[in-house]
């Protein structure tokens, strides 16, 4: 007789801790062939609100770190991912139905993407900020600053590369994030949460909710203490995207709109995912005695 599995029920990641959903609900996660893999917590409105509180609390500390320090921390996340290769490969295979070789490749790209973004921490300001030669005796400098708390609807299909590509640009610039993972493919996000908790990312900087974007996102889109929302994860759902964008207008959140279809995450992402969530601050200093 074969050994009976220890069936797992994964939890949420909020404020650096792993709570169960406040709602008490969980849902079954199957692999692409329909076989049961594990249970995931079904995040509720309350979990979303708790995550926003955690993200807001973490924001000043994270935004206030030196860019070099944020770069180090993101690079450290990449290192810890390397340590957990087998677990990620298995999660990606189960979630996306890939061969072992293809799943390895996805993991390689996800880690490389994180390393790429880590390096931006202390370079973006130099690339998109500048001194302005005003017509007067002033020293005038424009620099990017983080927008604040960003809600991220992670991609539904690309459960690891897409997830990392959505989170990294938000946090490398000093924002904190509330992430709603893929509904059908949440397990790479759960493993990623475990990586975050065992690397040097302060609690609350990234909060990961497993569950339905359609259920949770309206609460995030209308939340008055969320500064921005990335709708990439509901690509193609024009109706939901429109309603979320309308709700986001209540406090003029910065909205990264949903594309018509999920993007190809293997291409060079450019700066847009970072510049969508920074504010340009311009400071004028008089020159004189």
């Amino acid at each position: 007789m074969s050994r009976i599995d220890v069936r797992k029920t994964y939890k949420l990641f909020i404020g650096g801790a792993f709570p169960r959903s406040e709602s008490g609900y969980s849902y079954a996660v199957n692999d692409t062939k329909g076989a049961f893999v594990a249970n995931a917590a079904l995040a509720s409105r309350k979990d979303a609100r708790d995550s926003v509180v955690a993200a807001r609390k973490a924001f000043p500390g994270w935004a206030g770190k030196t860019a070099y320090n944020r770069a180090q921390i993101l690079y450290r996340v990449a290192e810890v991912m390397e340590d957990r290769r087998p677990q990620f490969v298995q999660a990606v295979r189960q979630s996306e139905g890939l061969t072992a070789a293809r799943a390895e490749k996805v993991l390689d790209e996800a880690i490389d993407r994180l390393v790429w973004y880590a390096g931006w921490a202390d370079k973006l300001t130099q690339v998109i900020g500048n001194a302005n030669p005003v017509a007067g005796p002033f020293f005038n400098l424009s620099t990017p600053e983080p927008t604040g708390v960003v809600a991220v609807l992670a991609p539904q299909e690309s459960s690891l590369l897409g997830l990392v590509s959505a989170i990294a640009p938000v946090i490398v610039t000093g924002n904190t994030a509330v992430v709603v993972s893929s509904y059908d493919r949440p397990l790479p996000a759960v493993t990623f949460a475990e990586v975050l908790s065992t690397s040097d990312v302060p609690g609350g900087v990234v909060n990961i909710l497993t569950g339905s974007a359609a259920t949770i996102a309206p609460w995030l889109a209308s939340h008055m203490d969320v500064n921005a929302i990335d709708l990439t994860g509901i690509a193609g759902d024009t109706e939901l995207a429109t309603s979320l964008e309308v709700a986001a207008a209540d406090n003029l959140k910065r909205v990264r709109r949903a594309p018509a279809a999920e993007p190809d995450w293997s291409v060079d992402p450019g700066l847009d995912a970072m510049t969508a969530f920074v504010e340009t601050k311009t400071v004028w200093h008089p020159i004189g005695s």
């Binding site: 207008a249 700066l271 004028w284």
Partner: protein
């Protein structure tokens, strides 16, 4: 000691205001189909002209003209040629500067010294600055693909200057525009339409349509515009954000503010007082980035207030065309009503009002420079944008408290810091959640310097290299 000034009015004979104006569509003035309205001088209530109202069909014609001009002419024209048109416009604005300044002061009510020394020269400078970008877009970092047709709606506080902020970068990036000036201040935009004709700008590249809220709504909601740029109230900005939801229109919003002007005890007090006055009484306080909350360190609060009141008493209010006038007329009866109402709420909530004793003209819309002391963060005059010459004074003890109070607002457009200590300036500047921070100065603007807000003060930047982003489609946006 008081000085007597003889009146020194700028002659208005230089301007030729027509009895009525049509819409400027496809290079020509045409009749509007809506109900025409009157524009008046807010300092005298004299009717200046009858202005056409664009209805939905007119808006559609203007958008179609802009679309054609983009597809056939402007979107294909080499940048170096577009640049020359913009340089021409900049030159004509300079050449007709006095005419524009007088017209602006008549229609808006602002003092001639401001329209002459700020609005008009800075408007010309914007066209000069962006003209130079037209053939250098690939170096700016946002690609060189124009969006198409830009719908632009501007406010009444800086009519010509806001037009320049909108039109110059749009045209430089290869877009065509349909612009709606504010209902109460259409005249300089209509003179600008004549300037476009004088510059032989191809028809349809710039279209100016007049009207009120309904016209603006029809314009920003038109399905064939690619870009919406709006400067105005946060309330209307939110309505626009809802109206464009689900479209791929690119949007920039430059909205309200409730800026803190923070004075530390080591600041050069006389300079700070000048900065406070400039911050809140410049342009009658009709400035979205006005320093409407004075945060003064407790130890110097009495001294600052005493000197501030003395300085306020020397401000000269009256005829906008008088070269000695510091404070002009409130732009409209409606705005005057709002300023009065919020000031009365200030009284009712227990703040103490002090205003400059002066005789107000019997005709026109006037409100004396006013400050409120004993204001708490909960008071409406400390939270809501008055958009008038009304200053709320609060105090603080530590830099941390100043930051806390300054950031305690849904707005985030601007802030001021006054101190002699360089390291404190940099610390404060980094902690203030505002798009523009003025250190030991206030209300400075320049075409090279990006302007725009955090939080509910809007999104996107106008001015500088950053100001191009809102009018170009980056390669990665194109791929999405």
């Amino acid at each position: 000691m008081t000085f007597e000034y003889a009146p020194a009015p700028e002659s208005r004979s230089i301007v030729d205001i027509k009895a009525s104006y049509g819409l400027f569509i496809n290079g020509e003035f045409v009749d509007g189909r809506g109900t025409s309205f009157k524009t008046i001088s807010p300092s005298t209530e004299e009717v200046l002209s009858e202005i056409a109202e664009a209805d939905e069909a007119d808006v559609d014609l203007a958008v179609k003209a802009a679309r054609r001009a983009h597809a056939r002419v402007w979107g294909r024209m080499p940048g170096r040629e577009r640049a020359k048109y913009l340089y021409r416009i900049a030159r004509i604005i300079q050449e007709r500067g006095r005419e524009l300044a007088v017209l602006e002061s008549i229609d808006n009510g602002k003092p001639i010294k401001e329209s002459r020394d700020v609005d008009v020269p800075v408007a010309a400078a914007h066209f000069f600055y962006y003209a130079g970008w037209a053939d250098k877009l690939e170096y700016a970092g946002y690609g060189d693909r124009s969006l198409g047709v830009a719908a632009q709606v501007i406010p009444w506080n800086f009519p010509l200057l806001m037009l320049a902020w909108k039109i110059a970068p749009a045209l430089a990036a290869g877009n065509t525009v349909v612009l709606k000036p504010a209902e109460t201040t259409p005249l300089t935009a209509l003179l600008f339409a004549e300037i476009c004709q004088q510059a032989d700008l191809p028809p349809g590249v710039v279209n100016i349509i007049t009207g009120a809220g309904a016209t603006g709504q029809a314009l920003v909601s038109h399905t064939d515009v690619d870009k919406v740029a709006f400067t105005g109230s946060t309330e209307v900005g939110k309505a626009i954000a809802r109206a464009v939801a689900g479209t791929d229109k690119k949007v920039t919003l430059e909205l309200g503010g409730k800026a803190a002007n923070i004075v530390f005890d080591d600041a050069p007090i006389d300079q700070a007082v000048e900065g406070i006055v400039d911050g809140i009484f410049f342009n009658q306080g009709h400035v979205c980035c006005a320093g409407s909350r004075l945060l003064v360190q407790e130890s110097v609060a009495d001294d600052v207030l005493e000197r501030l009141k003395r300085r306020m008493s020397t401000l000269r209010m009256g005829d906008p065309l008088d070269k000695n006038t510091d404070i002009g007329a409130i732009n409209s009866g409606e705005q005057l009503k709002r300023i009065r109402e919020l000031s009365e709420v200030g009284d009712a909530e227990g703040a103490e009002r002090w205003e400059v004793a002066c005789d107000l003209p019997t005709k026109g819309f006037w409100f004396p420079p006013t400050l409120f002391t004993g204001v708490t963060q909960a008071h409406r005059i400390a939270r809501e944008e008055v958009f008038g010459p009304v200053l709320s004074v609060l105090t603080f003890r530590t830099p941390a408290e100043a930051v806390e109070k300054a950031n305690n607002t849904p707005y985030g457009l601007s802030a001021g810091v006054w101190t002699d200590k360089g390291s404190l300036i940099l610390k404060m500047a980094s902690q203030l959640r505002a798009g523009v921070v003025w250190a030991n100065t206030f209300n400075k603007f320049d075409p090279t310097s990006p302007f725009g807000g955090y939080k509910e003060s809007g999104y996107g930047r106008e001015g500088g290299r950053h100001g191009l982003e809102g009018y170009l489609r980056t390669p990665h946006e194109s791929a999405r």
